[in-house]
Subunit: 385 residues, 2 copies
Amino acid sequence: MLNFEFQNPTRIVFGKDTVSSLDKLVPADARVLILYGGQSAERTGTLAEVRAALGGRTCFEFGGIEPNPTFETLTKAVALARAERVDFLLAVGGGSVIDGTKFVAAAACFEGDPWQILESLGGAVQNALPLGVVLTLSATGSEMNAGAVVTRKETHTKAFFSSPWVFPQFSILDPTKTYTLPARQLANGVVDAFVHVVEQYLTYPVDARVQDRLAEGLLQTLIEIGPRVVHEPADYDSRANLMWTAAMALNGLIAAGVPQDWATHLIGHELTALHGIDHAQTLAIVLPPMLRLRRESKRAKLLQYAERVWQLTTGSEDERIDQAIRKTQDFFEQLGVKTHLSAYGVAPEAVDALVQALETHGMVRLGEHGDVTPDLSRKVYEAAL
Amino acid sequence: MLNFEFQNPTRIVFGKDTVSSLDKLVPADARVLILYGGQSAERTGTLAEVRAALGGRTCFEFGGIEPNPTFETLTKAVALARAERVDFLLAVGGGSVIDGTKFVAAAACFEGDPWQILESLGGAVQNALPLGVVLTLSATGSEMNAGAVVTRKETHTKAFFSSPWVFPQFSILDPTKTYTLPARQLANGVVDAFVHVVEQYLTYPVDARVQDRLAEGLLQTLIEIGPRVVHEPADYDSRANLMWTAAMALNGLIAAGVPQDWATHLIGHELTALHGIDHAQTLAIVLPPMLRLRRESKRAKLLQYAERVWQLTTGSEDERIDQAIRKTQDFFEQLGVKTHLSAYGVAPEAVDALVQALETHGMVRLGEHGDVTPDLSRKVYEAAL
């Protein structure tokens, strides 16, 4: 096991009818800025429920945070937070709203150009407004970690930052709030959580047994509940299990003491930036060829994955690895998430620009061994066509 | 899944050569009270290492915290902390030292009779001194939770309290610090962690898939590494896996959203109080008959345990359950922890007093269904003879 530090102070309030606990979680004298995305928060009644729970506090609202939240939009929220001397932020939404709120929390307290928050990967953050979360979409795990991804529209750049200052103070996870989501968002959520786990698990063995067993348990749970979540009418236990799995997938526990990859995410980011493909869809596209092309350096963990997650114990090593990757890809497709670039209208001629974008963004030595070069990334894009 | 709240702010610093990080973890101007148990902390050099890492700070020391730390001893530490106006406590040891330090932390700030801390189960705690941990023995998980058990010698009472005020601010987990432990303490640690998991897992199903998979992963890990930890020369990875497993076994994660039992612990406590049997030994004695006697109400989870933890898939339901309990008991015995009262010199005539003690302490409706009555507890003690 590698040395590690782990700390995660976020308070999780999980279950039915928990939005009303906002009243005890948000300071009674707070000036609150409620941040949300599109119209669904209003339409489903969640915003009304939030407003009622916060009754008596001075509240402001900022809607319109887009999927892959942009620096340009968030800068307007920062201006509002400052102008109204807001002292508490409440994100009502999924990963994009939460990520955006984390950026606003840090930027509202930041002197100088707030893009430095992202350029420094968060190292420049010395303070932030406190924030809380009411989660309405299970996917990114942002509700229980200190990271965020922000897109700069003018340069097509997806940038990441992380800082202990932006851990949510609390996150309210009420599975019933996900009942009205469309199948596409549900399927994306399952794939997103799945690939988060894979990025922290499918590397090389370091005898970290609990982390491995937990990662495998998260993957098995997603395989068990994913099709039901996407294709059947909403039921509480499936949604509850998805909600807790997605949070546990990226709260630092399965990353503790093990190597991490993240090449699939970083290669996928360019597909979102240049072609507008949903984040989770890019993961479903990139992961299968990525695993096939890196089978030698990932061999031991791929075999463990095949055996423990997919119960594949017969055939040669390579047959088991091939089967495990095939089953992974089939799982994504069964959820309705296409795994080929052609399905999203991306033609072979697009590959040059994608590889160029990776180089421009410095994404030239990715993965747990730093051996995912632009050449290998090109092969991944080509194999994904 | 049941509704739940989860929060655990303790910072874990895990790995080789991490004791030196005390210098950044303890405030530079702190007046520190170092608390420890017997002579081993001095003999192994850990105390010297701690003193060196704290260099420059004003430090006081309080040794002699016994296994099953007593109210009487801890009261002296409280007096020292107050007299020297200490503002940071550092526990150097295992569960008993950490539990004792938590009590000192709360009692040093408590007005009135500090036994109220335990009588209120911690509810009366409104403040505590900050505390940190250097762990030298993996077992109780106290390094990553807010609970503590304190014994009142004069009344033979083991009492529990819990308060968010006594979460350790940090815990340093260096597996090499456990290299010098005797086999008995190592074996006790494996059993203690194992039964902690069982108390939160072997109840009835509520479709909490991640919690179940994590619990099963912790049990499997203990089964894999336990014999090696106890019977073979110290190796880093076994000790590291035990250390992280024991912490994860009682940090609140596997308890989130599921029913809990704890009858084995509470029935075992009287064996420690009246016969001085090690805590983990009492668990190894009580658990097997407890599971046999409650097989009907635990049937579904016992079958899941048999299949996923012990890979028992053939035979009738009752055969699988019997085999799983038998394998559990054999596992304890293989570690060198005896599972019958006779091995500890406790005769049949002792049972009356044990049941009487349970009644005196109000332990009359235990377990996840509240159906572990004194009559059933008597049967457990008798079956354990």
